[in-house]
């Protein structure tokens, strides 16, 4: 069976002339660049630096589980209120956190200080913030969860946990696009 498959692939490539080979490479580039365009386009539309994030921890169970995909927006004119699910970044930490706002103190001039807590955690997030940091501010917010799709992000988690798996998938996809002929 394996021999047959190899033969099929090779046959495809063998039948290509130079022109078709260039075409395949360009096709590959096209896919990569359109993915990039969609991502950057979403960034513009949602105003968030990462409009789609994957939930990595169980701290928001039973709302979000590991591997759920969240869609974020970050419109500046939209005020932060209690009950919002925000994604925020802490200085000195690479991975953003998804938690719920439980306290808001807003001044007349619009500056806002707020505190978050994971639904599944028993204490608020002050222990997670940078040392000495008691409140989050608007600049810390990456986005606010507007919608979610369950399970879809599990692929990303697998890729993060097993880097070899990631390279394998990337290599397979790349090879498939390059070799496969329409």
């Amino acid at each position: 069976m394996g021999g047959l498959m190899d033969f099929g692939f090779l046959d495809d490539v063998r039948r290509m002339n130079k022109r078709q080979l260039y075409y395949q490479v360009l096709n590959f580039g096209m896919i990569v660049s359109s993915a990039l365009m969609i991502w950057k386009g979403l960034m513009v539309v949602t105003g968030s630096e990462s409009p789609i994030v994957v939930v990595l921890s169980g701290s928001m169970e039973p709302a979000f589980f590991r591997g759920d995909l969240l869609f974020l927006t970050n419109y500046q004119e939209e005020p932060i209120r209690v009950g919002d699910i925000v994604v925020f970044k802490i200085e000195g930490r690479d991975i953003p956190i998804v938690h719920r706002v439980i306290k808001v103190h807003e001044k007349e001039n619009g500056t806002v200080k707020f505190l978050t807590k994971g639904d599944n955690n028993s204490v608020d997030d002050r222990g997670l913030y940078a040392p000495g940091q008691l409140w989050l501010e608007k600049k810390d917010v990456v986005g606010r969860a507007q919608g979610f799709v369950p399970y879809v992000g599990i692929v990303t988690i697998l890729m993060n946990d097993y880097p070899k798996f990631k390279y394998l998938i990337l290599a397979c996809l790349g090879a498939f696009v390059l070799i496969h002929r329409e």
Partner: protein, 270 residues
Amino acid sequence: MNTFLSRLNTIFAFTLSVMAGLTFLCFLSTFFNDHKTLVSINTGKIIVKSVPDYSTSREKNDLGFVVFDVQSDILSSLIVPTTSLFLYLTAEYTTQNHKLNQIVMWDKIIKRGENAIIDYKSMNTKYYFWDYGNGLRGNRNVTMTLSWNVIPNAGTLPKVMGEGSHRFAFPDDYTYFDVNHLEFLTLNSFPDHHDLIQNGDRNVNSHCLRKVHLTTKMSPNCYRCLLSSDLQAYRYNSMRGWGGPETQEPTPPSTPHNLSTPHPNLTLGV
């Protein structure tokens, strides 16, 4: 090109599109949900203390204690059952320094299949009611609302505010408890309840607590320290100057009590 791979590919693609379609239907089913529900909220005893918040700074901040009732039938408003609901009770008020303050006093997660009828009496706040500063004392206008975040199977995450709010005022004076007197009171003046203290069981029945409450006229926060397991914590807290709200569930039922008629032995200072 009917190779094994291409068939596998077709099946995979078809499965994916079916799943995507179903997910989209899930999203549609909850998108048009009308979530409006009536909520009734009431408050019992309300006090405010001025104590240092050691979790933030050593400055004295206002700490409110509110006993509340909340009632609502949320499930009846949901056409399509959702994965879970996140309910939260918000207190909103204005202070001199801050135009808008919102504090979650209590929250609850209702999972699918669980009873979604909310009917709680004389609840203590789940989280500390700390103000950012000293804006609670004499605050005439604190609005309590119940809201919930609907978590569907997939799709948008609407936040719904229940119809009906409750407005209350904080007293004009700070309340202080003299804990030494309180211990003296509970241990010596009421030998009937020694069993309760000896028992030290967290699940002490409400009848017992109610009896203590009626005889001592103590606030729920106060008499909870009768449980010896809590006594230690209460002593510790009292050294810092506060009792602290109940973070453990379940909260024993009690009737809110008016502090203006304290027991003679219970020292209340202003």
